[in-house]
């Protein structure tokens, strides 16, 4: 049952082949056996999940034909959930229970999904390996001891290990796509503004975007269908109609122009990964697509620009965690300054503190123009690269990450090397474009992700292209050993 797609599960639930309670129990059992080793969930909501499953079964019996009714998923622990702890992977919020649901959570709840639990993540979504979690690292289901990627590492690992049907994630610089690539699943970061950020703990507000993580493009489409749409509570939410993402999945790709940026297939990319990407591109050519060599000349500026903009915003966004109203508070503060210093010093992990320091510096009087303002200008140049490219092509493709999943501890001592693992994903966030990662031919038994980048609000096109690949190949349905 745990290997079925959402449409198969929806069919089974509607026809009474099995119930949501049964489906939920299967997943809860899998969580019980595998989560202790994977550490991909930080909260498991057994009781709540079974209640939601019962409710879903009643709705199904009453003729509720919503595709997600009764489907068990997990939420990244960055999404606020009414009554269930939202830790954001941090000691700072280890005791925080929000009195509200994030927009994404309430939309999915209304659609009848069952929340199995909350997924581990890098603290405040800052990281590319899920090693920066207060709750410890997550193991990659494909290889114990390897990272699942980050920051949505818990979500990716849980989906890959079949502990849930699908999951939510967030992506600020690659946090959906890179773990999707490392864990061999399908992840989509929508256009900035496509999915409301309300109730999603902010890391870098101008870059953060929630999206689906699933085992196929078709499943991701079903989730996005519910997650996307205007929300008046988020001023940056787009008032754009939401198309039927499933309706265009089967469009053929004849004449599709695929841009292949030379900057994405050059130095720094493992040769075997380049081969996997070429193999996938070859499949698209077989389906009638056309490859176009393009250039995104400012690609090399993506990582430095991101590491000014994102820390600057995070340094301000994380100021609210001050030990005054909620969250971690140090014991016996001597005075106000001591309260601030120790609550924040003890409540935040090293990477979070590093980024707050970088961001505070970048915004300081005398440095603002040289760093923040300059970075904003480069951001425009990066967007312009994409704008020019999309005048020639329909989608852009390249690798999601320069390597396959690395070992836990391998890069954690060197932040800059770690930052470079997001080299291909970051520009998409800076430009606000939709991006996706889908599994292609593995290298040495480890998953490899193909990144698809679309023009603004072209999620339907990305899902369509990814689905066509998945119809013709079976890379996406590979299951890690021990989790079949």
């Amino acid at each position: 049952m745990h290997n079925k797609s959402i449409s198969e599960l929806a069919h089974g639930l509607r026809t009474g082949e099995f119930t949501s309670v049964e489906l939920t129990r299967v997943h809860l059992d899998r969580i019980a056996s595998h989560n202790p080793t994977l550490n991909c969930l930080v909260s498991v909501c057994e009781e709540g999940a079974l209640q939601e499953a019962e409710l879903a079964d009643r709705r199904l019996r009453a003729g509720d034909v919503g595709q997600l009714a009764g489907i068990p998923i997990v939420h990244k622990d960055i999404f606020c959930t009414d009554g269930v702890k939202t830790s954001c992977g941090s000691r700072m919020l280890d005791n925080f229970i929000a009195p509200y649901d994030a927009h994404v959570v309430s939309r999915l709840k209304q659609a009848g999904v069952v929340m199995l639990g909350k997924a581990n993540m890098d603290e405040f979504a800052m990281g590319s390996s899920n090693e920066n979690s207060f709750y410890g690292p997550v193991h990659n289901p494909w290889q114990a001891g390897a990272v699942p990627g980050g920051s949505s590492g818990g979500s990716a690992a849980a989906v890959a290990a079949r502990l849930c049907v699908a999951a939510t994630g967030t992506d600020t610089g690659g946090s959906i796509r890179q773990p999707a690539a490392f864990c061999g699943i399908t992840g989509l970061k929508p256009t900035y503004g496509r999915v409301s950020r309300y109730g999603m703990v902010a890391f870098a507000s101008s870059l953060d975007q929630g999206g689906p993580m699933a085992r196929s493009a078709a499943d991701a489409a079903a989730l996005l269908q519910v997650m996307a749409g205007f929300d008046g509570r988020d001023s940056t939410s787009a008032e754009q109609p939401v198309p039927d993402y499933s309706a265009t999945l089967n469009d053929d790709l004849k004449g599709l122009r695929i841009g292949v940026p030379k900057e994405y297939l050059g130095e720094g990319l493992e040769a075997a990964i380049a081969d996997s990407i070429q193999a996938a591109l070859g499949e698209f050519v077989r389906q009638g697509a056309e490859l176009v060599d393009i250039s995104l000349p400012n690609t090399h500026l993506g990582v430095p620009t991101y590491y000014v903009v994102a820390p600057a915003e995070c340094s301000s966004n994380l100021s609210r965690f001050d030990g005054v109203r909620y969250g971690y508070r140090c014991s016996e503060p001597r005075d106000l300054e001591d309260l601030y210093k120790r609550s924040r010093g003890e409540g935040f992990g090293a990477e979070v503190k590093r980024r707050i320091m970088i961001g505070t510096y970048a915004l300081s009087a005398g440095y603002y123009d040289a760093y923040y303002l300059k970075a904003q200008k480069i951001r425009h140049l990066i967007s312009d690269d994409f704008r020019a490219a999309f005048e020639q092509v329909d989608v852009i493709m390249g690798p999601t990450a320069p390597s396959t999943a690395f070992g836990i501890g391998e890069k954690s001592a060197d932040p800059v090397t770690m930052y470079l693992s997001d080299i291909y994903t970051i520009a998409v966030n800076l430009a606000g474009l939709p991006g996706m990662s889908v599994p292609v031919r593995p290298v040495n038994g480890m998953p490899v992700g193909l990144q698809l980048i679309g023009n603004y609000f072209q999620e339907a096109r990305l899902l369509n292209v990814a689905h066509q690949l998945q119809q013709a190949t079976n890379w996406h349905s590979a299951t890690p050993a021990g989790f079949e």
Binding site: A202, S235, S316, S319, D322, L363, Y368
Partner: protein
């Protein structure tokens, strides 16, 4: 050495929106602590600000009133600092691109001349909460009801040259925001707060170093604080010292200003555009619709009162000091059909009664219609001005309309010449000696002596005889 004072003011006017600037929580004053702070005001994780469009409209209204440039595009920025009553660790304000640009107002100096004062800018921002240091035994309580209340910060040019000018400017802004209905102007409750930047320089010289004065919660304190600060600065410089740039707190009890923090201790606020809010893009249509719907402003109303009602410039200024009083006067004048009479009564008896009772205009027991109705009875000779005072007192005491009081108390003026003549005859008959004296007196003394007979007649008639008729009859018979 002749010293010149240079003053600029920063005024925070709390906008009279029903809900907060970035959340739906109520802005009502005086509720139990932390009962009017929603998840957004509390700065809980993941919540987001949504701009209250009414606050934007109010800011535009102010901009139009001071003939300012309204920015077609303005940007909210974050001002970052830590304080327990600042829930997010930053205040959402406007920094580089404020909604209202350069404008100006005119203030009237003591000699009656008009002086323009420049407004540098006015921007929208959210208020912080309140830290309560009493009642918590060595701890600080935080009330976040006020957090997120919309403010319009109005920054003037350093155009004022005396405390009196500063007060005139502050009063002018106070009057304008109240006229526009965008601020209740209540200084005690903190709806209208002034900070003053004060420096001194040798007359005509370059600008001196300024001190910023805070905690000036009345016009009187504003004037007082500036004057003692100017004295302090002059003494300091003349004693060989130098003014340092700092923030100083005015202590009304001790009547002194004292240092709060120096420039070195000032925060680096690390302003940057708030990524949670889009730039405010105003289309010309909105600005035009605000312009078209502008109420009459104080200066225009004052000029119209002087022109249309034939009032003196002073009377027109008094009556237009607040929009409420001006409206009250206009309604009373309309009902009475005599503007001058209405002006005298509104500024005289009516304002006096309010003052004595310590009431605000809105709390007056006598409505403008009621007052006008009474004045109408003076105009149509039903009662005299003197009797009117009795009627007014009765109305104030809640005895109903003037007509009802006049009827109930039998205060109707006697205009029947036969009846008045009978009283006149009786008075003359009862005072033969005074009649003889009058007749023997020369023309110059007679008017004064006539007063005696008028007084007697009025007394006999219990004040109800028409004074003009009494005069005429007495002159005829004497």
């Amino acid at each position: 050495m002749q010293w010149e004072t240079v003053i600029g003011l920063e005024i925070h006017a709390q906008l009279a929106t029903r809900s907060k600037i970035f959340s739906g929580a109520s802005t009502a004053f005086g509720a139990e602590p932390n009962t009017q702070a929603c998840t957004i005001d509390l700065g809980l994780p993941g919540v987001l600000p949504v701009l209250n469009q009414e606050a934007v409209r109010m800011a535009i209204t102010f901009g139009v009133a001071i003939q300012a440039e309204i920015a077609p595009r303005s940007v909210f920025a974050r001002k970052n600092y830590f304080y327990p009553d600042l829930p997010k660790g930053y205040q959402i304000s406007q920094f580089e691109l404020p909604i209202v640009g350069k404008g100006r107002v005119e203030i009237e100096l003591e000699d009656g001349t008009l002086k323009p004062v420049g407004v540098t800018r006015a921007h929208l921002e959210e208020d912080a909460g309140k830290s309560l240091h009493e009642d918590f035994h060595g701890m600080t309580g935080v009330d976040l009801n006020r957090a997120g209340t919309p403010l319009l910060e109005i920054v003037s040019e350093p155009d004022m040259r005396s405390a009196k000018e500063a007060v005139a400017y502050a009063k002018k802004i106070h009057q304008i925001v109240q006229y526009l209905g965008i601020c209740d102007g209540n200084m005690q409750e903190g709806s209208f707060r002034c900070d003053a930047n004060v420096s001194v320089r040798p007359k005509g010289g370059p600008l001196g170093t300024r001190a910023e004065l805070k905690n000036l919660n009345s016009f009187r304190f504003l004037e007082r604080a500036i004057n003692i600060e100017v004295e302090r600065q002059i003494d300091l410089i003349e004693g060989g010292g130098a003014v340092v740039q700092e923030t100083r707190l005015y202590d009304a009890d001790k009547d002194e200003t004292r240092s709060m923090r120096s420039k070195e201790e000032a925060n680096d606020y690390r302003y940057f555009p708030d990524p949670d809010l889009l730039p405010v893009e105003l289309d010309a249509g909105l600005i035009e619709s605000v312009r078209a719907g502008m109420p009459e402003l104080p200066d225009a109303k004052r000029a119209r009162f002087a022109r249309d009602y034939g009032l003196s410039s002073y009377d027109a200024a008094v009556l237009t000091a607040s929009k409420g009083l001006a409206d009250y006067f206009e309604l009373a004048a309309k009902v009475a059909g005599d503007a001058k009479l209405a002006a005298n009564w509104v500024m005289g008896e009516f304002s006096g009664a309010l003052n004595q009772a310590g009431l605000a205009l809105e709390q007056s027991p006598v409505s403008a219609e009621q007052l006008g109705g009474m004045l109408l009875r003076i105009v149509d000779n039903t009662i005299s001005g003197k009797i009117a005072k009795q009627v007014f007192e009765a109305m104030w005491a809640g005895e109903g309309s003037a007509d009802r009081i006049i009827e109930a108390r039998g205060l109707k003026q006697i205009t029947d010449s036969g009846a008045i003549e009978a009283v006149v005859d009786a008075v003359l008959q009862a005072n033969p000696e005074q009649v003889a004296n009058y007749r023997n007196a020369d023309e110059q003394k007679r008017p004064k002596m006539l007063g005696f007979f008028v007084g007697q007649v009025m007394k006999q008639s219990k004040g109800k005889a028409n004074p003009q008729q009494v005069n005429e009859l007495l002159l005829k018979k004497l």
